[in-house]
Symmetry: D3
Subunit: 318 residues, 6 copies
């Protein structure tokens, strides 16, 4: 991951741990012909540049995921047609809809996890090796579940998947759990990772929390960006925090943000299809630099920058 | 209706079926001295220009309807006082409030239908011949009902009224029905017309749908713009679609939009008294051109343009 | 109606205005082979005895209405199959379900009104002249509506129908309205009749009220038994009251019960498919005597007795 | 299973497919010293008689499961202390509470599945070989889930577990799913089995359905008793139906009851800690005879009898 | 309080800490001519016998409180008219309704506290010296509040009042607080006393708790019976527990029941206007004996017996 | 209060009773290093300039109050650390959080009232004489309460405190009450002041109302700015009105706005952490001029100007 990721230095005078790209949003709602909105999307280094899987809701507001490519991580060529998954082997696959993808590179494959419609939302799984041909596997878990994020390494010899069990609507609760699999097909050894925080301690994450980016391995453990939600009198507000998970037993939380790292404040985060949403789904790293991609107002994609060492230090103080 | 309606050509490069007027909103929230907001309003050709009935909520946020006039359909002179209806004949009339008017020209009269407060919202009916003197008739239907839209021709010799039965609050359901009357007083022969669509098929219209503009007779049937609603975690979002109803049996849906035609995306649609609302109430036509008037964010009035032939073609593909 | 109706004198020592039959319930939940429950049913004098239309939910808990006959009003022979309605003339008819019937004798016909499923509950209408052949007419009103009760005489030359507009669920509100029709097909001239009472004044009827029995013409006006509902922490409780409506303008309430006449207290009213329900649907009269048939706990049918003169006197004191 | 199970012949004159034991309830709420209620419990043949796992809520209304023994299936000796599970191998186990057990005999083990509290309700798994020593395994699934029922044979070489994904409260929805495992530890290949039925078709099961007894292998497929729920204005009512699943692909429903087999009607089903509940958790068979154990009113245990051949015939007619 | 209170010894074989009177209910729903129900009532020793203040809802289901007298605590003569309070001095008094009284003897006065309707429920206060003439004082607290219970002695020289702040409906939460007053008019020094318990620890009291009887001074502290509520899928269930409060700082909980002392199990507790309610409002003592009066199913009054020493011992074990 | 307050004349052509400062917001969300938002704050004249108490939510979205100072009322120096209250005398104090402060100068002290977290929100009380040292007193009232506003003079020799009893969430109701105290510690003589208005009369204040600024003594009575709330399909919208209370019996409303004075219309009021909020907390006066400080969108602070004489005249016309 020594590739050159999008980057801007911290603005003069700013003391923010993370700061926005000054040309946000990097992807706009109508950037492909069929789209109503493009948001909550995942990117990874790929070949000389970057590839990504993008949630593009169409004008029917049907949710689907699309492949896209970029040389610099800022200018994206998103395919006009959604990904056409083939069933993997004898796997049974079914998708009423697909949304909120994450992409994890592991063992030569780009694994895609997403919220998959099968009698309710659950965690869909697929992979590609070349971003041309895509295979869909069995759903990892039963409905109702969302925000499935796969670790980029096996833990204790097994695949490890974060998820947030849900209900069948706009779930007003939500903890992060971790499940393991020997084979990416059968899952078990479910562990509770973290809950919302009490209102008095950290209100922005008092309703629900969900995994965001693929965890980043640091010397101190797995660093992951996540979203937290507060319920105001006018609905949900989504913000971004970070958590450090134990390297070997990543259901153990070593440090966790009480402050948020990014909360809706820019006009493209405050207004759109769903006002007041910042929703991280991916992070690119280059040395100490990190660039987080996040959905804004369920409408477009923004990026924010930070330094891993600073984030880890900041987590120590929380 | 060969009068010159407001018009702008499709912007260069746009592939939209319908496009916004670039000087929207055409009516602003404070355009009469008493108003808090002016939206969800209806216009018709009248004499050399246009007349309209406007929903103007005052600073008490009391809802009432006002007459207005324009030479070009863009610049409006709205009366500062609400319409003063006289009871028609021995009709019993009562209005706790009036809102969301539609205007239908039929048999020499401009019929006005609106949401009328009588122990809950229901469909009020009145008419004028000159936009000076207005008569109010019996309510067509029992509460709880909204979005009453009268056809501009008798169907099978009877008046035909679309409506959307509701509850007494922010109704989370809503189908469009059609009722008939021999005399504009007694109504029956109620027919179901259309329901919301399943979330997976067309999410923007999965919570409720309601008739919008007065249907336009085309060679292929009645073309009507309607609104559809989705429930997000932050409330309702209102968008606009179109439907083609059978000419003689207009409770039969021939074609219906799965894509929306217009959804909240401009700042005056995304912010205001109720964010994320596009709510069509009237359409002017001139040959193949159509100009739709819609309420934006429950705050102001915008217009959008299209070509009937293109909309009909587009409906065929849906 | 000089026929001998079911009757028992007021129990010794009782000061109740109305009192229960001591062999209640007169109809039990399994009285026909297919039934899960028989309740909320209507009876009328017929030939030498009585006939009735009964709500019998089957073991699928599908709701339908059945004809039945009795010599004495106490022992009933209910047909094992539901009423097979023929469409009347060119009337469009559709029933997803039928429940809570009332029967009104008028102009040589026994009119049946019920809650009819057509894209939600509304008021179904039919008639028979002989309780052998039944005709179904157009629905009188749009959904969502329940508790349609037809007056047994024309008012001002028109048919008059009470109803209670509702929502699509367990409606937590409900007023009684009156609608008129020249022809039993088209309805209008809708009038509000009565609302729930404030909790502080008469709590048993503070959530909703609905017409019960067919109104009885007395010298002082139309006497009608109705149900009122209170919302406790454990759900709805249904009780019975009475109201006197103006003879010529029956949307005007002359007197109305603040006390209830009958509220759930017997074990067959307190327990069953829905605990705590007393729901009147019919009344037989013989001189000053009245015998009210009511559904108990949504499970069976009970009867209660009273004297019209006493009820009218009692209403004067309320 | 040729043991003599509890049995009474169908009462004279009855046409019921299943009928109650006339001395119900067989287990009463206070049958062990600490209990507030004993219900929703499972029994199996064991040695010369029967053993069972019982849900006994204590006077704190804490939920736990207890072993018990009986010679005749009617008179039970329930241990006064809850089952003391040992962790199986290196399995991680945690139980905030345990309720609604089922017991499946398979491969020499009595497998117990129950609703287990681990950051919400999910499916706990354990086993015993002698009803003296019990081992608890990893939870099969993530929260939120209830009504886990294990098949008594491997399907396609794998363990097969029915469950009903839920939310974290009194879930107002619920479908039955099937999951597979090669090893009773990791689960996948999740299949949808059946949903609630539409209100118009079979109202008693229109809110949610959940697996009840361990499926019984018949020549025609797997016969399973399940519960269905309707939401009345006073809450949930639980009834019992039956379903026939394909022998080899048991996620395929061959036949399913539209009528219920048993619904609350006896006083011990209509009143108790939760009125109007019939909740099957186990079935004993002896030749063609079947005896179903069900929780009544969340308070006590009743049994009902039937003949498998008759139930299968009845299912054909549904 | 050496008067002879109602009493029965513990039934043979029973190990219950408290047990019911075998002739319950001692007061029935229709025991005065106007009543719909008599429940949630308070009694005290008075002259040679007992006096009480009774909640009698009338046939309008209006709530009011009535005085009554008894020689033996079992047979009661309740006045047919509600208490006619005179304003005390210049106190402002207003009552839309009165319910759930408690009576505390202190400083020669019988203080009555009740739930008083003044723009919502709050704590009404009055007193009598002879149960003939009654005075009403200022409301102690603002709405919304219920279950006000006055200590029978001053604490630190001040009056001490328990209460349970509420909302304006069927409050789904509720803690017990303590407030102090130098003069029974102005209240402050509010202290939190106790909250509901977590579901896993003591589910019968997991939704809300409220003070019940007037605290009884024992050598170990103030013993008080209270109610706790659980929310089942069919509504609230009310049970009774006990708590021991510090003698001098009675906002400190010394011991508290995890088991309940009495929960709905008798038919008059399981069925009635609100099923599944046991609601203590008063306790009489005689030496070690205690007799608790409780409302049953919001319909009638039952009593239960126990021994104070045994209850205190039992609390030690909780 | 003859100090020079912030001021701009009414814009040319405007007929508004009150108008916004053209450089709003005067305080921005990030104006102190730790803040997420600064809003709902109170200012008073102090020494040569002004002092204030500010609600600054930090990046954990924990709510606390901070002191600040200004020479001109426009440019503020807010302390970076929250106010560190010392307990006053033997008063018991506890704060899970503090928000929405008001400041009242009375008897040489600056009294601060706020929403204080003590087992739910209630009215916290404190004071300072120099804005350096702050003392916290006992909470005035029990939870659940918000919007406590102290009169700047004793009424009838007693302290007088407005408040709005609430529930424990986003309370959907709310009246203003007045309570009295001889000593700022014990409170009683609670009086109802005003309720929301019926939807048909003044919809912007139909859900709840709460006291805003400290009342201003005029010759005609106490003038107070308050907030009113309407519930739209997308949540709450907060606007500002004014009320004139009787000088000597300030629970009597002499005149009250039906029109609002200010409702969300500027972009900083329409977008932010909670869209569509205008929430007044303080007013400065200078002769006939008044400058109201209000929270905007729960994010920042705006000011609006008016003339007291004009507001009083306007109230006369309402």
């Amino acid at each position: 991951m020594a590739k050159q990721i999008p980057w801007q230095e911290r603005p003069a005078g700013s003391k923010e741990i993370m700061w926005r790209y000054d040309k946000n949003p990097v992807i706009n709602r109508y950037d492909i012909p069929s789209s109503n909105s493009i948001f909550n999307s995942a990117v990874v280094p790929f070949k000389d540049g970057f590839a990504g899987v993008f949630r593009c809701d169409n004008r029917r507001v049907q949710m689907n995921i699309f492949a896209g490519f970029s040389d610099d991580g800022l200018n994206w060529r998103i395919n006009p047609e959604p990904i056409d998954f083939k069933p993997f082997g004898d796997h049974f696959v079914h998708s009423d809809y697909k949304y909120d993808p994450r992409v994890t590179y592991l063992d030569g494959k780009y694994w895609i996890t997403w919220c998959n419609g099968y009698h309710g939302p659950t965690i869909g799984v697929g992979f590609t090796e070349d971003f041309q041909t895509f295979y869909q596997c069995e759903n990892a878990l039963l409905p109702f579940n969302r925000n499935g994020v796969l670790f980029p390494a096996k833990i204790g010899g097994k695949y490890a998947l974060l998820s947030r069990p849900s209900d069948n609507g706009h779930t007003p609760f939500g903890d992060i759990f971790l499940s393991f699999s020997p084979d990416m097909k059968f899952w078990g050894e479910h562990r509770h990772v973290m809950s919302p925080m009490p209102f008095e301690q950290s209100a922005w994450q008092c309703t629900k929390v969900g995994a965001g980016s693929v965890p980043i391995l640091t010397e101190e453990g797995w660093l992951m960006f996540y979203h937290g939600v507060i319920t105001t009198c006018n609905g949900y507000r989504y913000s971004m925090g970070a958590v450090l998970l134990d390297k070997d037993e990543p259901w153990k939380v070593l440090r966790r943000s009480k402050d948020y790292l990014l909360a809706p404040a820019a006009i493209y985060e405050l207004t759109g299809d769903v006002p007041d949403v910042v929703f991280p789904c991916a992070a690119l790293t280059e040395g100490d630099k990190v660039c987080v991609y996040y959905g804004a107002a369920d409408t477009c994609v923004g990026i924010a920058f930070g330094k891993i060492s600073e984030i880890l230090d900041w987590l120590k103080k929380q």
